[in-house]
Assembly symmetry: none
């Protein structure tokens, strides 16, 4: 009898996983936590930026524009985030590629070769991205990294 119960205890979770077929995702609470951490870093450095957090489909979950930031950064921050989630890699990878002569990727749809976009992973699944714009691309990248540490 004990054996049967033990077997069930082991088997049932396996069954539910098999039935459920789930993948992780990013919710609003997490997106706001990431944005708060990014803004804190930006304030420490006295930088003003747009912070965009996107989901695994490349759609906005959250966006915050600090006062005085150039309006061009509203689109750029989203474009960086979209690029990071579309290609599951930091936009810096594309920036480095172009800078070392790989200008051919400039025509690649949604590939933004400017640092400041980072994909967000959970259990190896890309669940979204953070995109930062407002200061230099290297500084944007530091803010994006600070944001991800909060997750």
């Amino acid at each position: 009898m004990k054996k049967l119960i033990l077997s069930l205890l082991i088997i049932i979770p396996l069954i539910s996983i098999a039935q459920a077929q789930v993948q992780p995702y990013l919710n609003l609470e997490e997106a706001m936590r990431i944005a708060d951490a990014a803004e804190e870093k930006a304030r420490q450095e006295n930088w003003n930026v747009v912070i965009a957090i996107l989901d695994g489909g490349g759609h906005l979950i959250y966006l915050r524009r600090m006062d005085g930031v150039q309006i061009g950064s509203v689109e750029v921050a989203q474009a960086k985030g979209k690029s990071a989630v579309y290609f599951k890699r930091p936009t810096k990878v594309f920036e480095d590629l172009v800078k070392s002569g790989g200008t051919h990727i400039l025509s690649l749809p949604n590939a933004i070769p400017v640092e400041g976009g980072l994909p967000i992973f959970k259990d190896g699944v890309c669940v979204g991205a953070i995109g930062i714009s407002g200061v230099t691309s290297a500084q944007d990248g530091l803010i994006a990294e600070a944001g991800l540490k909060a997750l």
Copy 2:
């Protein structure tokens, strides 16, 4: 003497207006306060929506998508807000017009005839807008109104 002071009280503001040629605007702190009030109303009613706050040029200051909202609402909320700020009127005006036979405005660039977008005024100047999308357009409108009360 009293007269002189009174005269100064009246004249000084006029001078600064004449010299400065300034207009009011909306900042991030206010945008977040509006969004918080809108979300509170949505939670009370158990509705999930996208909340978008735009500046006087139609550019995003702040966007928040509650968990589970259809992704189409990310663009719809922004489109409603943009319409409200571009035409300085609630999008409900366009919805009512179309419903009462004024279908001709359906082709007007940036005119979104669906309730849920409200312009934000300060001293008679349109400084931005709130756009809500996720439930029915009438419900979206109630949330937008609740948001504006926080300003």
Copy 3:
């Protein structure tokens, strides 16, 4: 003999003009004159509008936005003018058509069914258009008419 040659020297260029296959067009000076007359009408009525003057290809020659006009009118005025030149008719024709049930033209590329766009003709050739936006479509139409009278 000399006289004959002299006569020919005078007549031949005239003939070549007749042969040259030309068409009339609208220049900047005329466009500004039309815009001035339109603005004068608008000021008389205390209306604020965007005034757009386009060439025979539908491209802007001149645009003027009076202070305080809703920014949506910048695109709408151009769209009305473009529609008038693309179809060589007042946009009111499309508005009347839609209002009497002809909603099928709402999907027609560049057909804007809102009064305020008027084509400009010279010798039967459509050389451009004026587009007005900012007040009601009937008022926009009156301003457009006042502008054309200056040509």
Copy 4:
């Protein structure tokens, strides 16, 4: 008593600024003055161009196309102005960056790397931009500069 008046003179403007949260902007009269100065420079040099003046949200206030200018310049002048106001910097900065190897910014939304777009500032606030197109980019830049001197 004099002291009181002096105090009022100092305090009242501070109060109204604190209460008002205002920022400068560009009006039509100023936009036309800038365009006149730009056109004067262009005529002196015998250059023909499109002159576009935008507001702080990147929307047209004023556009003038001199006779004979290529129609492509209508959009290019606006794109340069938009880029200057979106990124609060001359478009020459982007041109220089690309020419010195920074081709990665070619994909950045709204970044136009061609001289001829200049932001317009008042009290440190970007209130709009001038965009010129029609001759070489260096010549476009000279005309833009001549325009701004009129403000």
